[in-house]
Amino acid sequence: MSDTPETPTPAVPAARATSRLYRAWDSDVGYAFRHSPVALISAGVTLVLILAAVFAPWIAPHDPFNPATLNLMNGLTPPGTPSPFTGDSFVMGTDDQGRDVFSTILYGLRISLFVGFAAVSFALVLGVTLGLIAGYVGGWTETIIMRIADIQLTFPSILVALLISGIAKGVTPIEYRDEMALLVLIFAIGLSDWVQFARVVRGATLVERNKEYVQAARLIGRSSFVIMARHILPNVLSPVLVIATISLALAIIAEATLSFLGVGAPPTEPSLGTLIRIGQTFLFSGKWWILVFPAATLLILALAVNLLGDWLRDAINPRLR
């Protein structure tokens, strides 16, 4: 006695139907994904960039992180034209150290993507969790969390990074410094970024928690954790996604700033952000390629991730699909 017409159940073999991957593919979001050209293209671009970064050692014509292979006399060679000193030629030219810009972008992407994604995820997880707790639980818990947030806000990431790296240097033996360097960066950027998420989520949670569906869940006796995670979170996610996707580019740039302070990757292993920072100094000297190619890469990455974020935000909202 259904008053909705019979809907044809998709004819899929049982085995496939149960596989997680297939379920994701067949889910509403998966469906929306397959039918959105924007999502497909931006996901494609993001994927290509990630793959390019992962497989950089195999794709890149040079290894810019190996100083022994660099020739200073190749420095500042314009794209496509041979160096007047060595006769070598580079697709995207070289920077002041004679590093092939194309290869450096690929290698630098590895650092930037890793640091960017990890830092934003860290900030997101931390901020969203604390924001939810503060908004939902209220009382002293909220006061403490939000006051910690106030304290955190006071310190610019520069100082946070210096503090963390200082402590990290103190506690880690020298041979692990390099491994620690990136972690320190991620930690520092993430730590300076979580407050945004926390405050936004808290604000939205304050509104959401009084709605009846939350009361319905409370009535069942669902634990606060589940109510926050399963009920409130999806309803406050949209501003979180906006901030997260925007923050990615910012984190990548922040990484470069912090590297300049001696925190993070050494200058002989420039990230995308560092490459842009180097390129900036050549902006008006006619050596445009050192800036333009890395900046364009970052721009494309940011564009793709943000479009993907926009799309995802709409897609997870059943009313907007």
Partner: protein
């Protein structure tokens, strides 16, 4: 020339899994001064017709065919600008859901005044005066203070009246009233219906009245159109349709109407279209723990419970004005009993329900369950208590998480309590969806894709999924058409009779209360004025308020008795 004419209207919702046709070739016309009833199964497409007329179909819905004319001019293809000129000014619509129809961030006054100023050429003062008059007119007491409150401070019924007032702001020619009185008690309902009749009579307003209250149809309408699964199955004058229904669905509908004068064992049902309207109690028994009940033991004890809300905020406590929503209500509910709570809208019924459910702290008194206190416990509501109770919320729109799929919503309580997992849970959800008449496929959709009645049924399914020992029903069937209502109520009754479910049953619908409840409490302005056995209370009301309430019950003499004999 008809005021509003709908011809061959077809409305489609293309969704991912299928193209869903909500309305098929519907016909309808309204003359000036006519009140046209629109009845039908919940989910039949009644609200969709209203939305189509207003040009406000929810995305991705679209008018796939047909013509809508206002005073002979086609309005179905108009652009937004032209449509806006009609909306509110010429054609008004009262949306079905009063809770979410009001902007939560503006006071009632702000919303009224802006609408008045938008449509009528009046000064601010005049607009304010008119706003106040309107609020008075829809029967909200203490209009002066109420105007400056926010929607969430109103009870369900009061919000509905605000929505009605908003629709009347601009003196429209056509009013589409979608379930305008579901949340109202009989006295207010009578007042509102009188208002509508008056408008039709005096100002020659055409009204489309969507309702499933056959009493209302009988009392108010001139013509009736019956819809079933998107199609118009019958149309004619009220007497004709109610008295001599020709279509089997109409017959079944009329048969299912609970009569105020007789108490039947079960709600009468008629099967139509080959659907099983009844289901065996064995089905339920299969996985429902049978509780031995002892009618002499009280399960729930409400001892002088009180709830106050802040009305005027002030820094100093002594300047604060408090509003007592529930004032020292004392009653108990015996094991296996259905305890009814009636009273005018805003009298504090939902508030009591929430206090018992532990959603509100009590400001005085105590609630105990099985002899153990459950209210205002230091660690919050005790878990053992939560496991045993469930609640059907008054508002089916906001009590469902918009981001969760229906099957997840229903499965959640059972999964949470660890009652069922995996395939068993899946089956239970499918079964419940079926029981409440939605069909298992509905589990894949999201709440916003359902009609009001359908959502309410989702709510009911969720409440039943955990097989609670105690169920709080806050207007469980207000948005349901009588046939579905009968079906749901029968389920509840079966659960009570055979499986020992205890219920707190809140309703405006006195006939339903009479059928369902063992004892009834009458609430007025937060005070419990009378508690008694249902039969004796209905037969011999003591308190003047109860007497007044019962006197307003609609008479359903016009209804055909055909169905009853079948039952």
């Amino acid at each position: 020339m008809s005021l509003l004419e709908i011809e061959n209207l077809t409305v489609e919702f293309p969704t991912r899994r299928a193209l869903f046709t909500a309305v098929k070739n519907a016909h309808l016309s309204v003359e000036p001064g006519e009140i046209h009833g629109l009845v039908g199964e919940s989910g039949a497409g009644k609200s969709t017709i209203g939305a189509a007329v207003m040009g406000l179909l929810d995305r991705p819905g679209r008018i796939a065919g047909g013509i809508i004319r206002y005073k002979g001019e086609e309005i179905s293809g108009l652009d937004t600008g032209a449509m806006r000129a009609l909306r509110g000014k010429k054609i008004s619509m009262i949306f079905q859901d009063p809770l979410t129809s009001l902007n939560p961030l503006f006071t009632v006054r702000q919303q009224l005044v802006e609408t008045i100023v938008e449509h009528l050429d009046v000064t601010m003062d005049e607009a304010n005066a008119r706003a106040r008059a309107l609020i008075d007119r829809v029967g909200i007491p203490d209009a002066k203070a109420r105007l400056d409150q926010y929607p969430h401070q109103f009870s369900g019924g009061m919000r509905q009246r605000v929505v009605i007032a908003l629709a009347l702001c601009s003196e429209p020619d056509v009013i589409i009233a979608d379930e305008p009185t579901t949340a109202l008690d009989v006295s207010i309902q009578a007042q509102i219906l009188e208002l509508i009749k008056e408008l039709a009579r005096e100002r020659q307003v055409g009204v489309i009245l969507i309702t499933h209250d056959m009493g209302v149809i009988a009392d108010t309408t001139d013509k009736v159109t019956v819809m079933y699964m998107g199609e118009v199955v019958e149309s004619g004058t009220t007497e004709q349709v109610l008295g001599q229904p020709s279509h089997p669905y109409t017959k079944s509908l009329i048969a299912a109407v609970p009569r105020p004068n007789v108490k039947l064992d079960r709600f009468p049902l008629i099967s139509y279209g080959g659907r099983v309207m009844e289901f065996a109690i064995e089905d339920l028994k299969r996985n429902w723990p049978v509780v031995q009940t002892d009618r002499s033991r009280s399960l729930i004890q409400a001892d002088a419970i009180t709830k106050r809300f802040v009305q005027t905020r002030a820094i100093l406590p002594r300047n604060r004005k408090m509003f007592t929503a529930v004032d020292r209500a004392t009653f108990d509910i015996k094991e296996g009993e259905v305890f009814g709570l009636v009273g005018e809208s805003g009298s504090g019924k939902s508030t009591i329900a929430r206090m018992i459910a532990g959603l509100y702290n009590v400001d005085g008194g105590e609630v105990s369950f099985d002899g153990k206190p459950v209210s205002n416990q230091p660690g919050g509501v005790p878990d053992w208590y939560r496991k045993q109770i469930q609640m059907i919320f008054q508002d089916p729109y906001s009590s469902l998480n918009p981001r969760m799929r229906v099957d997840e919503i229903i499965a959640e309580p059972a999964r949470h309590h660890g009652l069922l997992t995996g395939a068993a849970l899946k089956n239970r959800v499918a079964e419940l969806l079926d029981r409440v008449g939605l069909g298992a496929a509905a589990g894949l959709k999201y709440p916003h894709e359902f009609s009001g009645g359908q959502r309410q049924r989702i709510s009911i399914a969720r409440a039943l999924a955990t097989q609670p020992r105690f169920l709080i029903c806050d207007e469980p069937t207000s948005a349901l058409d009588v046939s579905i209502q009968a079906q749901i109520l029968n389920i509840l009754k079966d659960l009570q009779e055979h499986l020992g479910l205890t219920m707190l049953f809140i309703s405006h619908d006195l006939p339903v209360v009479r059928q369902m409840c063992d004892r009834v409490g009458v609430l007025k302005n937060g005070e419990l004025v009378e508690v008694g056995e249902t039969e004796s209370l209905f037969a011999n009301p003591q308190h003047p308020y109860t007497q007044q309430l019962l006197s307003l019950m609609p008479r359903l003499d016009v209804l055909s008795d055909e169905g009853l004999s079948v039952a």
